[in-house]
Symmetry: D2
Subunit: 137 residues, 4 copies
């Protein structure tokens, strides 16, 4: 089992008047970490080599907050794959700061192809991408 690791620093615009990171921004941190995992594997969300447009709508997110994050903190985000279905993937995220856990979350996204009319149709995850994801199971 592999875990994908990335880091980022808390920015002022991520905080709110309580002086800590606004809880919804943690979900953005998690999403960006997923995209970095995919990019590191040479997979781009968006358009594939054949010009088809893909989309990964989230159908479920959850997050538990264990400790507050402050401006300037360096956050480590560890992403793995908790479950991989035919069309869906559930990522598990662990956010920490200097080894201390600060949040853990799960996000389920569905692999969709964008139709010409703009609508989305679920599709099996392409084999190459499924292999990448399974490497993080």
């Amino acid at each position: 089992m592999a875990v994908f690791l990335t880091r980022r620093r808390v920015e002022l615009a991520d905080t709110d008047l309580e002086g800590m990171v606004h809880f919804a921004r943690c979900l953005v941190y998690m999403e960006t970490a997923e995209h970095e995992l995919l990019a590191a594997a040479g997979v781009s969300i968006g358009t594939d080599a054949a010009g088809r447009r893909w989309s990964w709508p989230r159908v479920k997110v959850e997050c538990e907050y264990l400790a507050p994050l402050a401006f300037g903190d360096e956050v480590e985000i560890a992403v793995s794959v908790a479950e991989r279905g035919r069309s869906s993937v559930t990522y598990a995220h662990r956010l920490s700061r200097g080894g201390e856990p600060v949040a853990r979350g799960r996000v389920t996204a569905v692999c969709c192809r964008r139709r010409d009319d703009g609508g989305l149709r679920p599709e099996p995850i392409p084999a190459e991408l499924a292999a990448v994801l399974d490497g993080y199971l």
Copy 2:
């Protein structure tokens, strides 16, 4: 059982390149609806009449996305209280558009007093506020 209802319209900055509301913004919609519920009951997050500072950190959030929201859509947000403990409250949110459910979520927040050193200490929910919340159970 009462349900608190509020409405808002999707703004451009709430959307992302997929053309729909970014999933993390739905959680902001939910949070703002809670604050409106409290404000409607005459309760402000922040400082109380005695000058004490309160804070309501979230310890858990979850959201299921049932249908995408587009720019300009009017969203109705219905908030009720799923559970009310001594120091914590779990809100249940239902987002809909023209009667169609688009998301449902739950958020658990803990009532904390801000100490002089800036730290947070969980406190029993003040009786007056507990009564307001129980009205939405």
Copy 3:
């Protein structure tokens, strides 16, 4: 000369650790007010009646901040049109709270048609919309 007026309340996620609205959110307030002005005139950004896709990229923004806005404040946003060219429009915005000015800004947007390849091409502002804008000059 007409001025378009709208109101909104400062949300928690609009603030930062300084306890006031983050400066970049004021620009979102301004943008949303423009969209409300257009919607009130029956004009939608995005797709027109003939199915053509329009886009209004900003080429210039500026904002002066006169007083801080706090969580829960009701902000009044007054929009007028400072200049209207063949393809561009410069909006002037005044933000106030209870009659007190809090910010004033200007935003220049260019009317563009979205081409099939996704690119943008400046176009003359459609006559009907130009008439709406000129009503706010």
Copy 4:
């Protein structure tokens, strides 16, 4: 004259339905670059070594947008100091992608001390920080 350089990658949550970075996010990119400049010089916004609280409210921002930024683009942000007064500093920012200019902006911030009642009072920029800023003039 020195220029402070930093880089970041466009995230999904930075984009809007037009498929490009929302204009207000560019101002967040600029602000974060300022904080990185200060952090690189060992200066933290917020509290100083003597425990005094500082704040740098923006009094003016402006930005010209020269080309759109897309999801995944790597943005280079170059910050210099256009003007340095007794209590204020005007930063000049240049955003580029692979050498192509995409935006240029200016931001004026005022050095303030936070009083015990929460209010802000403009103060001369501390000498050590003034020297850092002057290095970027």
